[in-house]
Every structure is written in structure tokens, then in C-alpha cells.
Symmetry: C2
Subunit: 312 residues, 2 copies
């Protein structure tokens, strides 16, 4: 088996488009994925922003197959595979490893609360043992606002000691820079630390981080990638401020529906705005305010409408 | 299709035993299920106490088949079928309805937080439409400490208006009597309200409730059932106090591992104490203290060791 390169740079938790019947619209997804890849943005399907936890195990497995069949390189993908149940997580992770995915983004089991590090270690350990593949590369997913199940520094240390070639990074979506900084300061060997928001991208790069995996990368990949590449430049603070201003527009209401409304607008494809319950699309007024705020900044997503046409 | 009777009385979220390899031990589960049924306690497999959310979709489907094949009446079961994803929830619920289960206990999708009633209504609506069976009887599952996704009174009203023959009850595991009382006071037509702890059983019965679905029913079904049957008797308060004293022993540490330690002890079957990660068994000292406290009260689980022998 070829050595799997560790990720760095920018990844997008790819938005999942749905049809009127709420089934995943994989053609639209492929078009969007290719649009992102052409902009040097790798793909993290089935993340929080992807409504990944609203997709069934069977749907995720099927979508992965279809993405690869459509010519999206498996090595460019870090699918979310963490569920509440070890067997589901192991099955999805094994599938990703078999396809040659560059890694998986793995939530801890998140139904039971306050379970402690011993329980979380045992859960990750069981998944790794059940997958049993050297091709499995795990990026831990720390997102307490959703999972309510934090991944502590001591849990990371323990996993790295047992599985230094399998546990290779983390996405920190805590929104707490002190937490990211503590992980960076630990200087784990070649451990890839991604921030979950581009608002922390400059700080992350200045402290030895690997990049970011951000919801907003779905719509603003070029500018985010530029800061990643030019973080040592004199204008880095200005670039960071620009990214923050765009991001603020999306988090004003609810980020996932706002991002979908944005893609719908710039792709000229209203169906893109649909979400799967329990998430709901923005109402017309909020969607309109979001688009107006973006247009007022001169924001655009060039090539997106073309991507849609090419997929058809 | 024969009319499906609505549940009342006592149900146990059946503990799920696991083997050393962490796979569900269905033979032990069948033995325990029969022991409960013989004590007039119906079965709610795959509840929170069952570590139901640590079981994969495929495991739950397989276990249901095996329980029915072992002679456990489907009508006596209210399996937990709610997951984060509509398609998984619909598949498990359809399976339960096909087998003739008396109902299903359905969590709302619980990964995304603060989603609002519109989103939760849309999720339940989509599941009901996808199952499309008159045999589907849903008991809503309100358990904010775990799901972080409450089911409001107005959501219940809306679901009852749309699906009066499908949405037939609720389990309230909020631990907040005021919440249960508000639902009881609404006097929904033949809507079965179960408290999630026997600590509220007497209050629930006095206010028109249907019974309880309690973790502790796994070990103390006879005494809980007696209060259900005799709640109008003069000694009801004393019975309630006795139930509360036993319950207190289990919630002292962590209830699920403590209940498993109890079954392991009284069944003479140490393997029963195993949990699936992220839950961990009680350490020896806590398990020993739990058993000692039970023995000091003269607590017993008669017939349990026999149930194990019969299953072998």
C-alpha cells in the first residue's frame, strides 16, 4: 500500500444538496466538489456542515462510491465517519480506507454525555481494531457545541502513543483559541492541527498549524486558500479581516442554510437551498438579506453556474 | 391489520449484554427479556439504558429479528428507533412495524442543536411518510439531558393534529415533573404519557398518566409494577419511598453500569457487567458498594439465575 500523505491546507466540509424528496442529490454534489478541487480546496464530505449526521450509514457509503466513480480522487477526501455506534463508525471508516481516502474525520460517539476519557479511548481503540487497516488515517473531530463530547489533550496523547501512524490530526471546532494553542504547544510529531473556522487560520499558521477545515470554504475557497499560502506576507492581517467579514454574513442567521442559499444564488439553482430536517432552509427574507450583504461586498462565486451545467 | 393496542403499565429499556469482543450477546438478552415479561414488564429494547445508541443500525435490526424468533411477542416490545438520520430512523421503524411491535420509542434527530420545532416536526413527518404503515405507533422520546433536543408541548400538539393514529404517546425523561404535568394537563385524547423514572410514577398515575419506562425496571420490575397496580391504595406513598430508595443506589455512580453490575451479581454471571464504549463498567470497588447497599436492603432478583440457565 502506498504511503498516505497527511493533509494540510484547506478542506471544505462539502455541503450536501438534496432533492425535493429529501434524497441526496449526488450529481449536484459532484459538481460542487469539482468546483472546490479546482480551487485547491480538498473535500471533507459528511462533516457537520454537510449535514453528515443527517445522512444514513447506507447513504454515506453509497455517496462515497459515487464520488470516486465520478473521478474525484479519493486521496483528496477526508469523509466524516464518526457516529454514535462503534460498528457503524468502523464500517464507514473501513469503506473510506478501502477506497483510498486521504483520511477520515472522526467524531467521538456523541449520544452518551460525560463519558470520560477512558470510554472515548476505548471507543476509538475498538474502531481502529475493527478496521484493522494501515490505510486508515484518523483526524479527530473536536466540536463540543454539537457533540457535547470534547476530546481532551490527554486523550490525544494516549491515542498518539498507541497509534502514531493512524491518529494523524485533529479538527478543532471548539471556537476556543486557547484550546487550539494548547494542542499546538504540545508539539506532537507531525500531528496535523486544523482549525474549524478560518477566523483562526492566521493564528494557527503562525503557531505551526496545518490549515483549516471550514464551512465557509464551500463558498469562499480562493480567498481562504490565499491566506493559507501567504500567511507570512505583510497583508496577512488584512486578508484575515476580509475573511472574517465574509464569515460574519453567514453566521448572522444559521450558517448551513445560509451557505446553501448562497450557492443556490450564485449557481442560479434554487434547489440548492434545500436542507434535510431537522435543519430548515432560511426564509426568503433572511436569504435575501444574506445575498444582499454578500453582493454589497462584491462577493462572487465565479465558475459555479458552469460547474452545474457541466454536471448535467 | 389488527388494531395495535396502546401501551400502559411498566416497560423496561432492556439492558444489552455484550460479549468480550463487544458484540451484543443476544442469548443473554433473550433470557433477561423473558425474565422481565414473566413479571408483567414489557420491553423497550434499544433505549438509552440499553446502550441503544451504541448499537449500529444493522445490529438493531438483527437483534429485533432474533428476539421475535425466540418467542418474545412483538406486541410486547417498544424498540428505540430514533437516530440522527431520517433514513436510518425510518428503516428501523418500518422493520419494527412489519414485525408487529406494539410501538416504537423515537428520539428526535439529536446531532444538530437548537433546531426548533419546525425542523423537528419536519423530521418526524418525513419518517412517518417514509414508513407509510398504519401499524406504526410512535411514542416520542423527550430526554434533554442526553439528546439536548427537547420535544415541546406545541410540537406534540402539531404532531397529534396531523397523525392522531400514529403518534400515540411519549416518554418524559426530563426529570422535570412540571414538564410531565403540563403534558398531562393538556388532556390529549388517549395519549399515553410515561415517566422516565419510577420516582414520578405515583404522581403520574394520580394525574392520569399511563405508567413508566424506567432503567431500574431491569432489576426491580415487581415492586415498580405493584405501585402501578396499587397506586390508589393507602400504602402507595410507602411503596413510592421504597422504590426511590432502591433507585438511589443505582444513580449513586453511573446508572447503566451499576444496573449491569447488579444483574451480573444476581444472575451469577460476571460477563453481564460488560458495557460497550463509550460506557465503561463500574470499577470493582463501586460495583461492590452497589451490591452491598442492595443486599443491606434485602434486595433480590429471584429467578434470574434460572433464566440464564434456561437460555443456555
Amino acid at each position: 500500500m502506498a504511503k498516505v500523505e497527511r493533509f494540510s491546507g484547506l478542506l471544505s466540509p462539502v455541503l450536501t444538496p438534496f432533492g425535493e424528496d429529501l434524497s441526496p442529490d449526488v450529481d449536484r454534489l459532484i459538481g460542487h466538489g469539482k468546483w472546490l478541487l479546482e480551487r485547491n480546496c480538498n473535500l471533507a464530505p459528511f462533516g457537520t456542515t454537510s449535514e453528515g449526521n443527517s445522512l444514513s450509514v447506507a447513504e454515506k457509503s453509497d455517496i462515497l462510491d459515487r464520488l470516486v466513480a465520478a473521478g474525484i480522487p479519493a486521496a483528496s477526501m477526508m469523509p466524516g465517519t464518526g457516529t454514535c455506534a462503534i460498528a457503524d463508525t468502523a464500517a464507514l471508516s473501513a469503506k473510506a480506507a478501502e477506497l483510498g481516502c486521504g483520511g477520515v474525520l472522526m467524531l467521538p460517539p456523541f449520544y452518551y454525555k460525560n463519558v470520560g476519557d477512558d470510554g472515548l479511548y476505548a471507543a476509538y481503540d475498538a474502531v481502529i481494531q475493527q478496521v484493522g487497516s494501515a490505510g486508515l488515517k484518523i483526524y479527530l473531530y473536536h466540536i463540543p457545541p454539537m457533540s457535547q463530547t470534547p476530546i481532551s489533550l490527554s486523550l490525544i496523547e494516549r491515542l498518539l502513543k498507541a497509534y502514531p501512524e493512524t491518529v494523524v490530526g485533529i479538527k478543532d471546532s471548539s471556537g476556543e483559541w486557547d484550546n487550539t494553542k494548547a494542542m499546538l504547544d504540545a508539539k506532537f510529531d507531525d500531528f496535523r492541527i486544523f482549525v474549524g473556522s478560518e477566523s483562526f487560520l492566521l493564528a494557527n499558521m503562525r503557531n505551526g498549524g496545518a490549515g483549516c477545515i471550514s464551512a465557509t470554504a464551500n463558498v469562499n475557497p480562493v480567498a481562504i486558500r490565499e491566506l493559507y499560502e501567504r500567511w507570512r506576507d505583510d497583508d496577512a492581517e488584512d486578508r484575515q479581516a476580509d475573511l472574517d467579514a465574509v464569515r460574519a454574513i453567514f453566521v448572522e442567521y444559521a450558517a448551513i442554510p445560509a451557505l446553501k442559499a448562497c450557492v443556490a444564488h450564485f449557481a442560479g439553482d434554487p434547489g440548492w437551498a434545500l436542507t434535510r430536517p431537522p435543519l430548515m432552509p432560511l426564509d426568503a427574507e433572511k436569504a435575501s438579506r444574506t445575498i444582499d450583504a454578500l453582493l454589497a461586498r462584491g462577493f462572487d462565486m465565479p465558475g459555479l453556474a458552469g460547474a452545474k451545467a457541466a454536471a448535467e
